[in-house]
């Protein structure tokens, strides 16, 4: 099961900023955040990673939909940060 060669337990800080490739081996960018969903037992399981091609790891919160405005900051954030941001489902993630 992907991702390959991760030793658990593992710190999230060791995953952040790691380079992500898709299954064909093409580089998608670096991990900016890790998405989880709580199961019926309350356990937060990893479902996907948010990958950005930009240099900025931190997205200021503009990756979340709770967040809108102010207009200028939002535009800037989406322009610089979100342009190359993709959500990659965990099973498709390959770290190298």
């Amino acid at each position: 099961m992907p991702p390959d060669r991760l030793d658990f337990p593992l710190r999230v800080s060791a995953v952040m900023r790691r380079q992500v490739r898709d299954r064909t081996g093409e580089v998608l960018g670096r991990i900016a955040d890790v998405e989880t969903i709580a199961g019926p037992d309350g356990r937060e399981r990893v479902t996907a990673v948010i990958v950005t091609a930009g240099r900025w790891g931190r997205l200021l919160g503009y990756e979340s939909d709770e967040h809108t405005g102010p207009w200028l900051l939002e535009r800037l954030a989406r322009l610089i940060l979100r342009r190359h941001t993709t959500r990659v489902p965990w099973p498709d993630v390959s770290l190298h």
Binding site: M1, P9, R11, V12, S13, D33, R45, V46
Partner: protein, 123 residues
Amino acid sequence: MLIGLHLLDRQILDRDGEPVGKVDDVELDVDDDGTPYVAALLVGQQALGERIGGRLGAWIAGTARRLSPDYDRGPIRIPYDLVAEVDSAVNLSVHREVLPDPALETWLRDHIIDRIPGASDAS
């Protein structure tokens, strides 16, 4: 939940709303079926220093480690089961007394603050 946005660097409060620390790092473990899950919150300057990295981070972590009663104890670890709710803070379902004491706080309290008159008075 996004771990970076909603968890990392957020204030942790105990069941009475008393500060416990920040979420300085998050520990992931794997299920039997291989899916990673949030296992614990790591708290304290040791985890923070290791996360910051570089010479400065190593210095912060090293100082924290020297202060801790046991050099190899590792950072304070709060199992994620103890988290009751995540809003503008991470709220625990337990009282902070059941968690390990932060070493620096204990040391400063015992060696300096308690020796000053009025340390236990409410102002």
